[in-house]
């Protein structure tokens, strides 16, 4: 059973964020891209336009995390690798997101279990790891924790397949040696 996703919010318009936003737009999802910096948002828009001008014309920009997540069914956190900032993001998601929204993180250093512990919905928390990142992401791993629900996994698997990604599921506990 997968939940239907219509709007995806991407938090952070750096390299990861703009890649994900671009793929989401091209898969015809309503996509909101948040960043605190005008210049990074501009760069992201220009980069997406260079890949697919039509897709970039549908991008919605947001300057606050609160606004970006309000209508999103899937929230993807792609901010700088800094524990407290990521934790703060998950706290904001928990407060402002829709009741059934899924919270995903591209974190490599901060554990998904720690981020999920900040929320009242660890079953809707999941990690994303890009396997190939040389200019184009074509495969990714969904990183689950023990609490991640089957529905969350099925939903994310469907979303990223629609974006044209090769999806595999891994347990966070199996990744500890690479951290």
């Amino acid at each position: 059973m997968a939940t239907e996703i219509q709007t995806i919010a991407v938090i952070g318009a750096g390299q990861d964020g703009r890649e994900i936003a671009c793929a989401a737009l091209r898969a015809r999802y309503r996509t909101v891209l948040e960043d605190v910096s005008d210049s990074r948002q501009d760069q992201a828009v220009r980069w997406i336009a260079s890949v697919d001008a039509e897709a970039s014309s549908r991008l919605v920009l947001s300057r606050t995390v609160e606004d970006a997540v309000r209508e999103a069914d899937l929230i993807i956190e792609a901010v700088a690798e800094e524990m407290e900032i990521k934790i703060e993001m998950f706290t904001i998601f928990d407060k402002f997101a829709k009741p059934n929204a899924i919270f995903a993180s591209t974190s490599r250093l901060v554990s998904i279990a720690d981020l999920a512990a900040m929320t009242f919905c660890p079953e809707r928390c999941i990690g994303l790891r890009f396997v190939s990142f040389a200019g184009h992401v074509d495969a990714l791993e969904l990183v689950r924790i023990p609490q991640t629900s089957e529905d969350t996994i099925a939903t994310c698997r469907e979303v990223f397949r629609r974006m044209g990604k090769d999806v595999t599921i891994v347990h966070e506990s199996e990744l500890t040696e690479s951290r």
Binding site: V36, S37, R40, A80, E82
Partner: protein, 178 residues
């Protein structure tokens, strides 16, 4: 100079990604040790671009206490001055207290000379091992306080080496806005 309203603050603190040693501000700040020996990281880049004159001026000053700052000429740099913020000793790490003190002192030295612009790196986050987020909180707080109390400085730049650090400074600064 009259006290600055909090409203004017955002535009007077500018965060950007780039090369500190290329800044054309009145002064750039060196992430220094208290013996004022320009070795690795930001200090090494300043020495390479600014020339040996900066190190010679530092040698003439000698050691300063940790948590303080010293000012020298800018050598071949575009900046007229280098302000050396000593948040660490040779072989000792940056602490919150030493970062706060050396940042505040660097700002005071700039204001005493009537400088209008200054550019800081993320002091202490290289070999001194200080966390980026805490660095951003402390340095941005000191910069905002300095402006609030009135200063010749019109713009305080934070020039960060990479996108991650820039984003951390920007997110912390946004959170500090009223």
């Amino acid at each position: 100079m009259s006290q600055q309203s909090v409203k004017q603050m955002p535009s007077r603190i500018v965060i950007r990604q780039g090369d500190l040693t290329e800044m054309e501000t009145d002064a750039i700040v060196n992430a220094a040790n208290n013996d004022l020996i320009l070795g690795a990281g930001v200090a090494g880049a300043i020495r390479r671009k600014g020339g040996e004159a900066i190190q010679q001026e530092c040698d003439a000053i000698g050691s300063i206490p940790i948590g303080f700052a010293a000012i020298t000429g800018g050598g071949n740099l575009k900046a007229r001055y280098v302000i050396h913020a000593a948040s660490m000793g040779l072989g000792s790490l940056t602490t919150a207290e030493s970062l706060r003190g050396s940042t505040a002192h660097a700002l005071r030295l700039a204001a005493e000379r009537g400088l209008k612009t200054i550019a800081f790196p993320a002091v202490g986050t290289g070999i001194a091992g200080f966390p980026m987020k805490e660095c951003a909180e402390i340095m941005l707080h000191e910069a905002a306080e300095h402006l609030r109390n009135g200063s010749s400085l019109e713009t305080i730049y934070f020039v960060l080496f990479d996108e991650e650090a820039t984003e951390i400074f920007e997110r912390i600064w946004k959170r500090m806005q009223p």
